[in-house]
Symmetry: C2
Subunit: 208 residues, 2 copies
DNA sequence: CAAACATACGAACGATCGTTCGTTCGCGCG
DNA sequence: CGCGCGAACGAACGATCGTTCGTATGTTTG
């Protein structure tokens, strides 16, 4: 019947990246409309199938969110571990951390948007695990600032506060529209690094 | 029957701030769980009434969101206009803008959280109006940076980018747990101002 | 060729959604 | 006293939610 025409397209991609495709559609929807406001039927619609068929690829709606959030979380922490192991001056490690964070961020801005804004819809115990990973990553940045302060490279302050603020700042880039190429990302990293290290004043600030 | 006991409590507050109370409960729920994930029945439950009774005070769920978002938006833009009219050096106006923004932010962190994160669930034409107000506020900060650059007080850069980043940074404080008193807010303002003007480096950054 | 498997489907489940309706009840005002 | 009105309620509406089930079909494997 209609299976000749309808099944033709799916069959043309035997067991190909259909699952990954659905995940990327889900990422876009979760990012643009939010997890709670996205229905499985809508996800199915943009995926070109019916809602029940989604469950041949993912066991639940939350599984989709889980994969997106933990996929990004794992990428961030493993990058952090790689940089932490580098034998470089602390300010260079910070510059590297900024650049790598931005690189990861711009590799999939929508996934990062979900990672940043929708993780709270995870349920236990995943929620606790996620928070733990997130805390690890914050601690990595805090550690850089603390180390820099001990060496006198950075001015004194609350390292954890500085780390969180820096992450907050960079993550804001998920809202930008245009994708950035490799060079533009490196330049943006410089921009963040310079702002963070030197501020915006032409001379040291002097206000009571 | 039960009306003797049930109606007693509501009657004790004749036509008092019931409406405002519901709005504040809604703010807390929208902030903690998100607009889409908050049901009218849950809001009614924490308000101590049944769901249909909510419609004696608000004509729809979105009306609640509308009031919260535009309440904050109006407060922010009117503050901006007040500061813009001040006869002060641009860096002092920036410091004032930071402090007043934080003051407003900490006057109701939950409402700001909704203002920042849940506005996208507004529908047209409110959505366009909101974006316009938001843009006005960003332009106010961008204007400060641009003015500072023309005077040579700030280093050159993209003023709109700087403005958005600064707002992003400050708005992150909605996630902090503890409320801050007047002095603590002023100190935090100084902290932001110093970070923004002078960065974190003990000496000017020097990395290729 | 047949059995097993992956993947799609329509139908439908119970739950919950935002909201409407008709009604009741108590308070304040004439 | 009586009358209206704000504010509450239970019942219920249609819609939509995430998900399950039985089934059909096409591909892969033995």
């Amino acid at each position: 019947m209609k299976s000749d025409t309808l099944a033709a397209t799916p069959a043309s991609a035997p067991h190909s990246g259909r699952r990954a495709l659905i995940a990327s559609f889900a990422t876009e929807l979760f990012h643009r409309k939010g997890y709670a406001a996205t229905s499985m039927r809508e996800l199915a619609s943009v995926s070109g199938i019916e809602a029940p068929s989604l469950y041949n690829h993912f066991s639940s709606k939350e599984t989709l969110l889980h994969e997106i959030c933990f996929g990004m979380a794992d990428a961030f922490v493993s990058t952090a571990q790689r940089i932490a192991a580098m034998d470089l001056p602390v300010e260079n490690r910070l510059a590297r951390a900024i650049e790598e964070h931005l690189r990861l961020l711009f590799s999939d801005r929508e996934a990062v948007g979900v990672f940043v804004n929708e993780w709270r819809h995870l349920s236990e115990p995943s929620l606790q695990t996620f928070k733990s990973l997130r805390s690890d990553y914050e601690q990595f940045f805090a550690g850089l600032f603390q180390e820099g302060m001990q060496q006198g490279v950075f001015t004194q302050g609350d390292p954890l506060w500085l780390g969180r603020q820096l992450l907050l700042l960079m993550n804001g880039s998920v809202h930008s529209t245009a994708p950035l190429d490799e060079d533009a990302i490196a330049q943006l990293g410089q921009r963040f690094f310079n702002l963070w290290m030197g501020g915006v004043a032409s001379r040291p600030a002097q206000i009571s």
